[in-house]
């Protein structure tokens, strides 16, 4: 038995993983920046 030839599923998986990992890295940067701003305003 052979499975589908198109690369749709693995492209989708790589995009989803990139969005989640990239989004998490950005969220860490954003949370730290927001915290530092809040602290400096006190």
């Amino acid at each position: 038995m052979r499975f589908p030839e198109d690369a749709y599923w693995y492209h989708l998986a790589y995009i989803v993983a990139a969005v989640i990992y990239g989004g998490y890295a950005v969220s860490l940067w954003w949370r730290r920046r927001r915290w530092q701003k809040k602290e400096s305003s006190l």
Binding site: A13, Y14, I20
Partner: protein
């Protein structure tokens, strides 16, 4: 966004690995292109379940013993980063299963236990946000973190204990890896690259926790 040296190395390693996976690694003769999902699914599972939740287990036990706030910060940071990696595992798995099995999900032992583990750590993170008292939060987190991590060996061995549709391990097994050399190099590289990514994200998350705790202490 400022990158540390570790961040630059981790991002470069991830980019190089997935360029190799996409353009320079052959398709599997049976599964076709969908097999390439393995290069993101398996290393994410390695990092999330074994490294991150393993670290939660060790640091939580040490916290209950030594009561050092640093250990709680490491445990909570590892739990959050591990949760992100496990989320990728639970999404990329069904994206592989759909073209290969014909269904996104089956309620077999490994998939169900991994989903259960994800809910445990979701509860862990929600609980941390709900308790203000530092000591109570750290103690409750340590207990949940330890109990959650105890599931990991069962998840690893579930493919041997139960009749499951999930493939057997390719790398994390006592015998030699069962894969052609070109694919194996890509797979090992992806384990290495995502381990570096984990180290960087963990460091950043720890720094956030450290700054928050330091400010809380200064204001109290």
């Amino acid at each position: 966004m400022k990158f540390s040296k570790l961040g630059v190395i981790a991002v470069l390693a991830v980019v190089a690995t997935y360029i190799r996976a996409i353009f320079f690694t052959p398709f599997d003769s049976l599964q076709g292109p969908a097999q390439k999902i393995l290069y993101v699914h398996a290393p994410s599972a390695w990092v999330g379940l074994y490294l991150a939740f393993g670290l939660v287990f060790i640091t939580s036990i040490l916290y209950l013993w030594l009561k050092d706030p640093k250990l709680d910060r490491v445990a909570s940071s590892a739990a959050e980063v591990g949760f992100v990696f496990t989320t990728v595992v639970l999404i990329t798995g069904p994206l592989w299963a759909k073209p290969v099995w014909g269904a996104y999900w089956t309620w077999d032992a490994r998939l169900t236990l991994t989903l259960f583990l994800w809910f445990i750590y979701a509860g862990y993170l929600i609980m941390r946000g709900a308790i203000e008292d530092f000591e109570m939060r750290a103690r409750f987190s340590a207990v949940i973190g330890i109990l959650g991590a105890l599931l990991v060996p069962f998840i690893h061995l579930s493919v041997y204990f139960f009749r499951t549709m999930h493939p057997m391990p390719v790398l994390l097994k006592p015998s030699a890896p069962s894969m052609p050399r070109e694919m194996l190099i890509t797979l090992v590289s992806s384990f290495f690259a995502l381990t570096l990514l984990f180290a960087w994200l963990l460091r950043e998350r720890y720094l956030l926790a450290f700054e928050r705790d330091a400010a809380m202490e200064a204001h109290s």
